[in-house]
C-alpha cells in the first residue's frame, strides 16, 4: 500500500522535473564560479527535501486523503509514507549534490589543469550530512505542523522557524563577539571532523522518530 502512496506522490512531483534541472544547472554554475564544494550538496538537498513536502498541498487540493482512507490502507501508512518520501528525497538530494560536485570538479580539473580544485571528500561528506541534518530538522518540525494546521499555514510556520533559527545563531555569534570570547576554531573543526557525522546522523534519526510519533498522534484524531 505504501508503494501505491509513494507512486501517487512521485507522479505529482513529476511537475517539478524542470525546476530540478534548473537547480542542478544553477549549482553546477555556482561550483564553477566559486570553486566551493559544499554548495551543491546543501542546496540540492534543501530544495529536493522541501519539494517533497509540497505533496501535502497536492493532497489538500484534491482532498485525496479522504479518498485514500477508503482504500485498503490506514492512517499509520499514510503518515509513514510521507516520512519515507521526505527522508528519501533529502538523502537523494544530498547524494545528487555530492555526485554533481564530484563530476563538475573533475571536469573543471581536466579542463583547467593550471587551477586544480582540491576535492576534499571528507569535507564533501560532512557538508552533505550537515545539509541532510539541517533539512531533517526543518522537516521534523514541519510535517507534524502540516498535519495539525494544513500545508499553507505549515509553510508560513517554516519560514518563521528559519527566521528564528537565523536570529538565534546571529544572536549567539553577536554575544560571543561582544564578550570577546575566543573560540578555538581548530578545536571545533577537529571535533566536527571526528564526531560530526555520527552526532548528525544519530540526531537526524531521533528527530525523525519523535516527529513521526507526533505526526501520527495528530493525524490519528484528525477529521477528513
Amino acid at each position: 500500500m505504501i508503494k501505491g502512496l509513494l507512486k501517487k506522490d512521485l507522479y505529482n512531483l513529476a511537475t517539478y522535473k524542470a525546476s530540478l534541472i534548473i537547480i542542478i544547472l544553477f549549482c553546477g554554475i555556482a561550483i564553477i564560479g566559486t570553486d566551493a564544494i559544499t554548495i551543491a550538496p546543501t542546496v540540492i538537498c534543501a530544495i529536493v527535501g522541501m519539494i517533497s513536502l509540497s505533496t501535502f498541498s497536492y493532497d489538500e487540493m484534491s482532498k485525496s486523503n479522504r479518498y485514500i482512507l477508503t482504500l485498503p490502507t490506514n492512517r499509520k501508512e499514510l503518515v509513514r509514507e510521507k516520512y519515507i518520501l521526505a527522508i528519501g528525497a533529502t538523502i537523494l538530494g544530498g547524494l545528487l549534490g555530492m555526485l554533481l560536485t564530484i563530476i563538475v570538479v573533475n571536469i573543471m580539473n581536466y579542463l583547467r589543469p593550471e587551477n586544480i580544485i582540491n576535492l576534499d571528500y571528507q569535507s564533501l561528506i560532512i557538508a552533505t550530512i550537515g545539509g541532510i541534518f539541517g533539512i531533517s530538522f526543518l522537516q521534523s518540525v514541519q510535517i507534524p505542523s502540516i498535519y495539525k494546521w494544513g500545508a499553507e499555514k505549515g509553510r508560513i510556520q517554516m519560514f518563521i522557524l528559519v527566521l528564528i533559527i537565523v536570529a538565534i545563531l546571529g544572536g549567539i555569534y553577536f554575544l560571543i563577539n561582544k564578550a570577546n570570547i575566543n573560540i578555538d576554531i581548530e578545536m571545533v573543526n577537529n571535533f566536527i571532523t571526528r564526531f560530526g557525522i555520527i552526532i548528525a546522523s544519530i540526531s537526524t534519526i531521533i528527530m525523525y522518530l519523535i516527529s513521526y510519533k507526533i505526526a501520527y498522534k495528530i493525524y490519528k484524531n484528525k477529521e477528513e
Binding site: 501517487k8 482532498k63 485525496s64 479522504r66 482504500l71 485498503p72 477528513e224
Partner: protein
C-alpha cells in the same frame, strides 16, 4: 436476505450538527438510496461506514466489525466520493499503476475496458477532464477490483441527464452481474433513485425519518388534493404533513387506501420521492 452493510445506532456529534442513532441495513443484491438535503448527515453516515470519521455505534460490513477488519473489508469495497479522488494531477494511466498496488484483485484489463467504454483519454491530466469524465473515471476506478459493495456519495451531482443515465446503467449492470453485491448511494437527486433503488433511507437533521422499500414508498404514499372542509375531516394520524395552497390543501399520506376507504377522497396523486422529501422538510404538521 443477508446484509452486506449493517448500521446500528451510529451517532456523531459536531459543534453545529449531530448524527443521531442512524440504523439501517444494505441487503445483498440491493441498491439502497440515502436521501436528504445537503448537510443533513449523508456524508457523515458514509464516512462512519468507511471509518474515515470516528463515530459511536456499531458498523458491520459482510458481518464483520468495520474497524477490526478494516483492510480486509476495504479490499472488497469500491467507493466514489463526490469531491475527493487520488489527485487532479494524474492521468488515467497513472491511476491504474497506483491502484495495482492498493488492491490485490485489481483487474487492469477491466479498468482499461472501462476507459475505452467511457471514451476516457489515458494520458490527459484529470484536472482537464469534464465533470462527467471525472465521475466516470472515479466509477471505473471503484469497480475495477470487482468489489462486493459500492458506496457512492453524490455520484450524479452536477452531471447532465445523458451522463447521469449512463452512470445509472453502470450501477444496474454492476448489481445484475452478481446478486451478492450491493450499492449504497447517497444523493439529493432523488429522481435517479426511482428507477434503480430497492430501498430509500431518508435522513433529515441527522435522524432517519423513514427506511422503506422504494416500491412500497411509491405505491402507498399519496398526495391528497382537497378542500379545507375535507382537510379538517382528516385525522392527524392519517397524514404526515400538509401544504396550504390558495384554493386547496395538499396533504401527504403514507397510506392511500386508508384515505380512500375512510374518507371517500379519490383525488390522490402519486408522489415522486422528491415530493415526499419536500413534504417532510417543508410541510406543516
Amino acid at each position: 436476505m443477508k446484509n452486506n452493510i449493517e448500521l446500528q445506532n451510529v451517532s456523531k456529534k459536531y459543534n453545529d450538527f449531530e448524527l443521531k442513532n442512524v440504523t439501517f441495513n444494505v441487503p445483498q443484491g440491493c441498491i439502497v438510496g440515502l436521501i436528504g438535503e445537503n448537510g443533513v448527515g449523508k456524508t457523515t453516515t458514509i464516512k462512519s461506514i468507511l471509518n474515515i470519521t470516528k463515530s459511536e455505534g456499531n458498523v458491520k460490513i459482510f458481518g464483520k466489525d468495520s474497524i477490526k477488519n478494516e483492510k480486509e473489508i476495504k479490499e472488497e469495497t469500491g467507493v466514489v466520493l463526490d469531491d475527493s479522488f487520488l489527485s487532479e494531477y494524474l492521468t488515467a494511466k497513472q491511476v491504474n499503476s497506483i491502484m495495482k498496488d492498493f488492491y490485490k484483485n485489481w483487474d487492469e484489463n477491466k479498468y482499461i475496458d472501462f476507459l475505452k467504454q467511457f471514451n476516457l483519454p489515458t494520458d490527459k491530466l484529470i484536472k482537464d477532464f469534464s465533470s462527467g469524465m471525472k465521475m466516470k473515471l472515479k466509477i471505473a476506478t471503484a469497480i475495477s477490483h470487482n468489489p462486493k459493495i459500492l458506496i457512492l456519495d453524490e455520484p450524479t451531482s452536477g452531471l447532465d441527464p445523458v451522463v447521469r443515465n449512463e452512470i445509472l446503467d453502470i450501477f444496474r449492470k454492476y448489481i445484475e452481474e452478481d446478486e451478492t453485491r450491493s450499492i449504497l448511494l447517497s444523493t439529493h437527486i432523488t429522481t435517479d433513485l426511482e428507477h434503480i433503488s430497492d430501498y430509500i433511507v431518508f435522513i433529515e437533521k441527522g435522524k432517519i425519518i423513514f427506511n422503506l422499500p422504494t416500491d412500497e414508498l411509491l405505491e402507498n404514499y399519496g398526495i391528497i388534493k382537497c378542500s379545507k372542509e375535507d382537510f379538517i375531516r382528516l385525522g392527524g394520524k392519517d397524514y404526515i404533513a400538509y401544504k396550504k395552497g390558495k384554493y386547496q390543501y395538499e396533504v401527504l399520506t403514507n397510506d392511500k387506501s386508508v384515505i380512500r376507504n375512510k374518507y371517500n377522497i379519490t383525488t390522490i396523486d402519486k408522489p415522486s420521492i422528491e415530493d415526499i422529501m419536500l413534504f417532510y422538510i417543508k410541510g406543516e404538521k
